[in-house]
Every structure is written in structure tokens, then in C-alpha cells.
């Protein structure tokens, strides 16, 4: 196609081409993926909505919103022309988990948030294009070993096989380093395996992405709890560098009276039973999980939505979200809130729990809660919820899920004496992911606190630049004072 023709003004299709989804009435009875995916023809049409904007210092475009710096216009151009193979190759230059990110990235705030088309219309469906290409690749392309550059002779240990660790492993392999991933659970993937439900991210896809990384020559050792089986210091004797990406696996609690009653679980326990251990297939799989007639999930983030929607699929009669602020402050992605509403999750907003009430056998029976109103903005910029005196109420519940956040996993910091941490328990890192211990880098939730899959991957990517430099050119390390300051500041 000649240049002139492409630049000619044309009418933009105002909306994204629709993503077919399972009917809410049907899907609440199964764990199959909700969005079914688009076909090649639709992907080409969607790609043709892209204006191929040029990036400049004064003009932000899609790429500016991507934490892993995918060359978005370039891959979309290939889709426009039907070159799917080349398009996914371009994505893979920067992105090791495209099938995952094409599903769980909050693209509305990232690439699509910066899309120029999106200023007057719906943005280009970049997320669904990424998903389409990754799915297409998995189905169409049969590849064995994936070519990587000649070995550099450097060996790197990655602790934690979640989004950050897998990104580091994949990117370092692409640079010719020999990488070994140590994963604590029986399958690699971290939150992608134990946390995000099958209906949002089928585990077969995670396995395929992990498989892709291992085909680049990355060795994956499951069942290895670093801090117990070996320490970071021991790893440093065998490896030239270590990346710690152990995540925010520690569940936060309300610390309210009655929280240890039976039927009250952390979101982590609930989701780990269902996703990692496949309790939704009990008794075909041995791990059980039980939901009562009414499930109350406390919290308003993506994890809370996952809990509430999982509960419907496990057969509860009513699934309720109890959140202390209003709809506008729900931290979950809009798409997740929308899906939950479609499926019939009831939102009990501006309400906070006070106490959990049990029966004589130690099972939870009711949640005592109180209505809230919004006051002045707090440190997070969101309006502070304030209790309305006298507005206490009771809500029956046989299952209560605590989804109010996670804290950094303490195992590696606890067993690595000279690794500085912050007050929040995260590992202190400089802007490029170096820790206070020479040769040790960190990223993802263990360094930033609980965030998203894609931000963890962005962290990993940043650390890779610094790690490659450290391994190949410049083994110098920042002075200890840098980290003293970091550990106090944050």
C-alpha cells in the first residue's frame, strides 16, 4: 500500500469490534473463560482503526503507557496487513507473557489510555489484539527450541516464578545468560497460577507461556522454597547474580473479633484452593473448598471480584461484596466490576465489617457491619470512609472471604541478613532494581508492594537492564548509604 493512501483521511469506526463473551447466565455455572476471543478477520478490522501515530516528546501515544515498552504501532501495522507471525514476533521482543497480559493488563489505563483514537472514540483494542496474536501463535505455530544468542557464560538465579521472575528469566535468556528459576509451588506462574481464576486466565495458557520460556533454555525448578531449601547467600556462590521476585504472598487480615471462625478465609487461601489445587473439580481433585448459601467478600479490588465471581460458580445462592468506599473508589478494574455485576454479584458499598459472629460449633454465621460515608481525601487521594454512628447492621454469611490486600513475602528478607527492607516489609531497591546486597536484584510486589502483573513485569524489565550491565560491563555497586536512605524513605 503506497504511503499517500494510508495518510489519506478516513472515517474511524467509533467503537471497538465486539469481544464475544459467554452469556452471564451460562458462565456462572462453569469455569470456562468469559471472553471467548476474536477471529483473525476481526483482529485485522480492529487493527485498521489504528492511526499509526508517531511518538514524539510532546505527543504521548500508546507506547508511553506500556510498562514493558512493546512497539505497539509496529505490531498493529503487521496485523493490518495480516502478518500475524511477524506481529507476535514484535510483541515478543519485549513481552514474555503476551497471552497473559492480553487478558489481565489494565490496558484502559495503559496503552489504550494513551491511544489517540480514544480521545473522541473508543480506543483501539490493543489488549485484545495482543491476546488474539498470542492465542493465534499458541494454536498455529509449532515451535521446538527457541533460538537464543550464544551463551555469555553468566549464570543467574531467579527466585520466584511469577510475572516479575518469568520476565527476568525470559529477557536474560534472550541476552544469552543461563537462567534457573526457583519456584516454591508445584507449578510455575505465581499469582497467574494460584490467584487469578481459570475463567479470567486459563491455566493451560499460563503453562504454555512458561513452556515458551523454558524452551529458550531457562531451567525451571518447582518445589523450591528459597530461604528454606537454600539461602540467597548460597545461591550467590553458584550464580553470578540473583533476582528476587517473591511477590506479595502474605494475606492481610481485618484483625476484627471472630476472624478465625470456620468459614472465614483469606482470599489467598480460597483462590489457592480453587485455582492451584483445582478444588472446583472436587472430588476429581482431592483438595476441597466449601461455600455457604451466602458468601460475603470483604474488599473492592480485583482479588475481591475474583473471589465473588468464583463463589457464584461454586454454587452459592448470593455473593456479596462489602466495600467501605463507594463505587467510584472501587480499586478493581471497571471490566471486572462490570463482569461481576452482570453475573449478579451484589455490591454492598459504603459498608465496613465490625465483627464476625459464630455459632456454637465455631462456624461463622453473620457479619456485623456499619454504614460509611465519605469524608475528606486521605493520603491516597481517595475520600476517607467515616463510620455513620448507629448504622450497624447484620448480614448472614456462611462464608466470608478477606480480600483487603497482601503484604510482601518475608521469607527471603528474613533469611538474607544484609538485604535492606522498608517499613512496609518490601525489599529496598534503587530505581534500577539493585538491592543493598551486591549481585542481588529485586522487583515485582516484593519491591513495590502489592500491584499488578504488568507492573511487576515492568519492574523485571528494568532490573534486566541493570543485571545485564552488571554481568557484562560494570560490576560496581551503589554505596550502602543509598539503601540506608531508601529503606527509611519508603
Amino acid at each position: 500500500m503506497p504511503e499517500e493512501e494510508k495518510k489519506a483521511p478516513r472515517k474511524i469506526v467509533p467503537k471497538k469490534y465486539p469481544m464475544p463473551e459467554q452469556d452471564p447466565k451460562v458462565r456462572i455455572h462453569n469455569f470456562n473463560e468469559v471472553p471467548i476471543g476474536q477471529d483473525g478477520q476481526t483482529a485485522i478490522l480492529e487493527a485498521q482503526r489504528c492511526l499509526q501515530c508517531k511518538r514524539s516528546p510532546n505527543r504521548k501515544v500508546c507506547m508511553d503507557g506500556c510498562p514493558v515498552e512493546i512497539d505497539i504501532p509496529r505490531f498493529i501495522k503487521q496485523v493490518q496487513e495480516g502478518n500475524f507471525s511477524e506481529a507476535i514476533r514484535i510483541i515478543r521482543e519485549k513481552q514474555n507473557l503476551p497471552a497473559v497480559c492480553g487478558r489481565v493488563c489494565p490496558y484502559e489505563n495503559q496503552c489504550e489510555g494513551y491511544c489517540v483514537v480514544g480521545k473522541k472514540n473508543e480506543p483501539v483494542g490493543i489488549g485484545r489484539l495482543e491476546r488474539f496474536l498470542a492465542d493465534w501463535e499458541r494454536k498455529e505455530e509449532k515451535h521446538g527450541k527457541i533460538a537464543v544468542p550464544p551463551p555469555t557464560g553468566k549464570r543467574v538465579a531467579v527466585v520466584g516464578g511469577g510475572p516479575a521472575g518469568l520476565t527476568v528469566a525470559g529477557d536474560l535468556a534472550k541476552l544469552g545468560h543461563k537462567v534457573t528459576v526457583f519456584e516454591a509451588l508445584q507449578y510455575c506462574g505465581g499469582v497467574l497460577i494460584y490467584g487469578i481464576p481459570e475463567f479470567r486466565l486459563p491455566k493451560e495458557i499460563v503453562r504454555a507461556e512458561v513452556d515458551y520460556i523454558s524452551r529458550m533454555g531457562v531451567e525451571i525448578h518447582n518445589d523450591c522454597v528459597i530461604g528454606k531449601l537454600a539461602t540467597v547467600d548460597e545461591l550467590l556462590k553458584e550464580y553470578d547474580a540473583v533476582f528476587v521476585g517473591t511477590g506479595a504472598g502474605l494475606p492481610d487480615w481485618t484483625n476484627l473479633k471472630g476472624e478465625n471462625l470456620n468459614g472465614i478465609m483469606s482470599a489467598n487461601e480460597y483462590l489457592t484452593r480453587v485455582n492451584l489445587m483445582k478444588a472446583y473439580k472436587f472430588p476429581e481433585f482431592d483438595t476441597p473448598v466449601r461455600v455457604g448459601e451466602r458468601v460475603v467478600t470483604i474488599g473492592g479490588g480485583n482479588v475481591a471480584m475474583d473471589c465473588a465471581r468464583t463463589s457464584l460458580r461454586l454454587g452459592c445462592k448470593e455473593s456479596v461484596i462489602l466495600y467501605r468506599r463507594s463505587d467510584a473508589e472501587l480499586p478493581a478494574r471497571r471490566e471486572e466490576v462490570h463482569h461481576a455485576q452482570q453475573e449478579g454479584v451484589r455490591f454492598e458499598l459504603l459498608a465496613a465489617p465490625l465483627e464476625f459472629i459464630g455459632d456454637e460449633n465455631g462456624n461463622v454465621r453473620q457479619v456485623k457491619a456499619i454504614r460509611m460515608q465519605l469524608g475528606e481525601p486521605d493520603a491516597s487521594g481517595r475520600r476517607r470512609p467515616i463510620k455513620i454512628p448507629g448504622s450497624e447492621f447484620l448480614i448472614d454469611a456462611q462464608t466470608v472471604l478477606i480480600a483487603i490486600g497482601q503484604s510482601p513475602n518475608p521469607l527471603v528478607p528474613m533469611t538474607t541478613p544484609d538485604l535492606k527492607t522498608t517499613k512496609e516489609g518490601t525489599i529496598a531497591v534503587d530505581p534500577e532494581g539493585r538491592t543493598s546486597k551486591k549481585g542481588v536484584f529485586a522487583g515485582g510486589d516484593i519491591a513495590s508492594g502489592a500491584a499488578t502483573v504488568i507492573l511487576a513485569m515492568g519492574d523485571g524489565k528494568r532490573a534486566v537492564y541493570a543485571m545485564h550491565k552488571y554481568l557484562m560491563q560494570d560490576p560496581s555497586w551503589p554505596a550502602p548509604e543509598v539503601f540506608e536512605k531508601l529503606s527509611c524513605e519508603m
Binding site: C224, V225, N262, S266, N268, E269, D286, T287, P288, L411
Partner: protein
């Protein structure tokens, strides 16, 4: 995958498996546990290590066949593969020179008691060991524990061997006789540990128990194993499994360990019917 090197039955209901896991064997310490998943469809369950040998590169687990998972393990023979083995987990027994240590074990707890007592004795303590079971046939690790004992007492509920009665009877007698006791270590059924704690509390004898709450990941991620210690929530898997008996809320632990009984029965029935 981890190879079963040897499989034995210690009693008709208690299995003993020696499994090849050189790295875990190298790192394991007395008092720790491992998470075992027999098959890909299996449950992750915490099992105490009855022994570990860095030289042989193996760990030994002992388990009472109560549910499906333990029965599935019980059918494993040398050469079979265990799907997943994670460890060593939990904090090891705190070892120091206490002086006179009275260790008390009951039922399957005797399997864990052996390496703990062995370590305590190696650490220069005088080990006074009391072991118990319903009857003589159900006593496990008797010879092993005796071999690391300075004083050794056996109790059976039916009187088929040793003292006719409970392990707590011997402890009560020792306290009544003003025997110098610097530490009591108890591992076994919840009710036994609770009783021991109640006996020692009025005498201010420091008492440590090893708890067995239901776990899922065993690494501090889920909180299934939370126990109440002096009113505070702790995780059995990372803060334990050993706690001060005088601070444990045994009522709560008992209730929490009954959470999945109906499901456990469904699993077991299906397994026994060969489905």
C-alpha cells in the same frame, strides 16, 4: 517427582516412606515438616519428618492412614514417584541446653518426637521420654526413642505394655515428686497436648507443643493454618509448628481442624470404592 526408596508399615494404620530428596535431606532440622502431594490430582498435606539423612539423600515420613491422601501414600511402593515434595518448612525446634527435658509423645506424634529428642540429647540435655499409644501394637519408634533416652517410660491405654494409663499420669507423678523439669516438649493428639499444657501451667514449667493445623501451601501464603497464640493470630506453617502450650487456643484449633470432615469422607469413600 521424588522416588520412594522404601515403604513400610509400622502398624496396620501407620505408613513409613523413605523418599529421595537430597536437597531437603541436607537442610532438614528436627521439628520441621514437608508438604507432600502424592499425585497431580492430590492434596498438599503437611507431614512431619521422622528422619532425614544427608548421606543417603533421603527423608522419611510417617503418617497415620486416616484419609484418602495418607492411604494413597500407604499404597506406594519402592520405585513409585511422589508428585511434589516441598521443604523443609516451619521453624526447627529451638535447641539449647535446658537441662532436664521431659518429652511426651502420643500416636503418630512419636514419629516427630524421635528426631527432636535425638537433637535435644545431642545438644547436651538429659532426655526423659514418655511415649504412649492405645495399645502395644500401635507404639511406633519405640526402640529409636528409647535409644536416645536417659529415662524412658511407655504407656498404653489398655495396659498391654508399660504403664496402664495416659502419658499425662507419668508427668503428673514426676511433678508430684518434685522432679526437676526444665522443659516439657509434647507432640501428639490435640487433646493430649492440651492436657499436658494444663498440667504444667500451674507449675510454670515451660512447655512446647508441635501443632498440626490444616495447611494448603505451607509457606505462609494462605493462612489456612492460623492458630491463636495469646489472642494473636499466628501461622502454623511459618511461625510454628512449635508454640508455647500455655498460650495456644486449643479450642479454636480443634474446631478449625474439623472444617473439612464431610469432604474428607467423600474423598475417602470414592478412593476406597476404587473410583
Amino acid at each position: 517427582m521424588y522416588e520412594v526408596v522404601k515403604s513400610d508399615k509400622l502398624t496396620p494404620d501407620v505408613i513409613k516412606l523413605e523418599i529421595r530428596a537430597p536437597q531437603i535431606a541436607k537442610k532438614a532440622k528436627a521439628g520441621q515438616f514437608i508438604m507432600v502431594t502424592p499425585t497431580e490430582h492430590g492434596e498438599r498435606i503437611p507431614l512431619t519428618m521422622a528422619d532425614f539423612s544427608p548421606e543417603k539423600g533421603t527423608v522419611t515420613i510417617a503418617a497415620l492412614e486416616v484419609g484418602k491422601t495418607t492411604r494413597e501414600l500407604g499404597r506406594m511402593k519402592a520405585g513409585d514417584m511422589v508428585f511434589s515434595l516441598v521443604g523443609p518448612l516451619g521453624l526447627p525446634t529451638h535447641l539449647q541446653k535446658y537441662g532436664n527435658v521431659v518429652s511426651i509423645g502420643g500416636g503418630i506424634g512419636l514419629a516427630l518426637m524421635y528426631p527432636v529428642v535425638r537433637a535435644l540429647r545431642q545438644g547436651g540435655n538429659r532426655t526423659i521420654n514418655i511415649i504412649g499409644a492405645r495399645n502395644e501394637k500401635l507404639l511406633i519408634y519405640e526402640k529409636e526413642i528409647e535409644s536416645v533416652s536417659d529415662e524412658f517410660y511407655v504407656c498404653t491405654d489398655d495396659g498391654s505394655k508399660g504403664h496402664h494409663g495416659f502419658v499425662s499420669d507419668i508427668l503428673k507423678k514426676m511433678i508430684a515428686e518434685n522432679k526437676k523439669i526444665d522443659l516439657v516438649y509434647a507432640v501428639g493428639p490435640i487433646i493430649m497436648m492440651k492436657v499436658i499444657g494444663n498440667i504444667t501451667k500451674p507449675h510454670n514449667i515451660h512447655t512446647v507443643v508441635s501443632l498440626n493445623p490444616i495447611m494448603v501451601d505451607g509457606t505462609g501464603m494462605c493462612g489456612s493454618c492460623r492458630v491463636i497464640i495469646s489472642g494473636e493470630t499466628k501461622f502454623g506453617c511459618v511461625d510454628g509448628p512449635e508454640f508455647d502450650a500455655h498460650k495456644v487456643d486449643f479450642e479454636n484449633l480443634t474446631a478449625r481442624n474439623k472444617r473439612y470432615i464431610p469432604e474428607e469422607q467423600i474423598s475417602l469413600k470414592k478412593f476406597m470404592e476404587g473410583k
